[in-house]
């Protein structure tokens, strides 16, 4: 099988790896780089558990071929905390019990971060639409929405 040498940045670090041409970015992140935060739920782009940011844009990493990452800046859930200090979204998800099994949570956090980066004061409807590509079969979504709202408040206060 043909392999491609891929150079990119992941969570701010320069990385390079050999990717078999058929494998997804998700598999490269998990198996080549040991970043197992992003999960494979469906493998068809429906569930969002594999969500990562590629050059600031929210993507399902299961639908991206690993060699496509050449030159890209990738952010996974492992990169959203500030060292030991959790991102406000991570903290409010813990405090708001916005997860049960946790499989969807890394993708939800990345999608919620993409939303708040672009729109610091979203309405509940905007949050629900922004997270419509992230399926959760445990929480019923309500605690997720409340936690994103609370994180948005904290982030707005922090930048005031």
């Amino acid at each position: 099988m043909n392999r491609t040498h891929v150079n990119c940045t992941v969570n701010g670090d320069d990385v390079d790896f050999l990717a078999a041409d058929g494998i997804s970015l998700l598999d490269a992140l998990r198996d080549e780089l040991g970043l197992t935060g992003a999960k494979e739920g469906c493998g068809t782009g429906d569930c969002g558990a594999c969500s990562v940011l590629i050059d600031g844009k929210l993507n399902c990493s299961c639908l991206v071929l690993a060699p496509e990452a050449e030159g890209a800046e990738i952010v996974t859930v492992e990169g959203i905390a500030d060292g030991d200090r959790l991102h406000p979204l991570q903290q409010t998800f813990l405090e708001g019990a916005a997860l049960q099994c946790g499989i969807c949570t890394p993708g939800v956090l990345v999608a919620a971060k993409a939303l708040l980066d672009a729109n610091p004061d979203p309405t509940e409807t905007e949050i629900r639409y922004a997270l419509a590509g992230n399926l959760c079969r445990c929480t019923g979504y309500d605690k997720i929405i409340r936690s994103v709202q609370e994180a948005a408040v904290q982030l707005r206060e922090a930048t005031r």
């Binding site: 782009g45 969002g48 969500s51 929210l58 993507n59 639908l63 071929l65 496509e68 419509a132 590509g133």
Partner: protein
């Protein structure tokens, strides 16, 4: 399977000629799941996104040129485009989640050739054309000549779509796209209706109605278009339009809707889309 990322149309064309069984892709939001579901693996996956022309959007000389691999998220975020083509922008924005929107493209939506593709009825209603890279150079065609059946296109082996072209929406004209799905979001159209109206005062001067998901390809409802011209979208005319839309359908039964249901709602959403397009045409495309 090999991955290739050409940076020019010529390079992509050569890759396709030299590698039988290769496939082009933009977002691959349909292609990758199809391969995982057991469709034959392409010999080469040719990524079109590194060709600048394929992701460029330009406006001038009375029209728009939109690269076939441009993410639909870039189109819906383009205020000038969305203001001039509100219906086409809305149709493009209905293709999947934010994650999918950052990958999905008109070129992919068209060439995947799903009868339910949301952008296709809106593109046809707006008389969009495509520029196609062929073995000998390029050729152009109207969008409605590309899809020939579910999963089938008129493109020859080795051909791919470079860009779409659209003439500017003229004053007094506007478009709308509505679809019916069983859920609020994240689903595939049971019926989609793309319409475009040019108004002369209160009366319809030109009408174009295209339905999706109710036949093997997107279909025009010529009889309804004729009934609309000269009318003021009065109840009697709209009832005739709805009847013609329902009669033109040739739908399937599936888990999202029965044949009867699809026929019925095709008429309903055609009427609703026409009312929206007429309002936009007369009062500006801000709604």
């Amino acid at each position: 399977m090999r991955y290739a990322a050409p940076t020019s149309v010529d390079e992509a064309r050569s890759l396709l000629v030299d590698n039988p069984g290769s496939r082009v892709f933009a977002g691959a939001t349909d292609l990758i799941p199809q391969i995982r579901a057991g469709r034959p693996q392409p010999s080469v996956m040719v990524d079109l996104k590194r060709i600048e022309r394929l992701t460029s959007v330009s406006h001038g000389d009375g029209g728009w040129t939109i690269g076939a691999a441009t993410p639909t998220a870039a189109l819906t975020a383009d205020v000038d485009f969305a203001t001039m083509f509100p219906g086409l922008s809305e149709a493009s924005g209905l293709i999947g989640s934010d994650q999918i929107q950052n990958r999905s493209s008109w070129g992919g939506n068209l060439c995947n050739a799903s009868p339910a593709a949301d952008s296709v009825p809106a593109l046809v209603a707006n008389d969009a054309r495509v520029v196609i890279a062929s073995a000998g150079g390029t050729r152009t065609a109207p969008v409605d000549e590309i899809i020939t059946g579910p999963g089938q296109t008129s493109l020859s082996e080795g051909e791919f779509i470079i860009e779409f072209t659209l003439a500017d929406m003229l004053a007094g004209a506007s478009d709308a796209y509505l679809r019916i799905i069983p859920r609020t979001e994240m689903d595939i159209a049971v019926v989609g209706a793309g319409v475009r109206l040019t108004m002369d005062g209160d009366a319809v001067a030109v009408a174009k109605i295209v339905l999706g998901a109710v036949a093997p390809t997107a279909i025009r409802v010529v009889e309804a278009e004729a009934a609309l011209v000269g009318s003021t979208l009065d109840e009697a005319t709209l009832a005739r339009v709805a009847e013609a839309a329902s009669a033109t359908c040739n739908p399937i039964n599936d888990k999202r809707g029965t044949i009867e249901y699809r026929r019925q709602v095709a008429g309903v959403i055609t009427k609703r889309a026409l009312v929206i397009a007429a309002d936009r045409a007369q009062n500006g495309a801000t709604s």
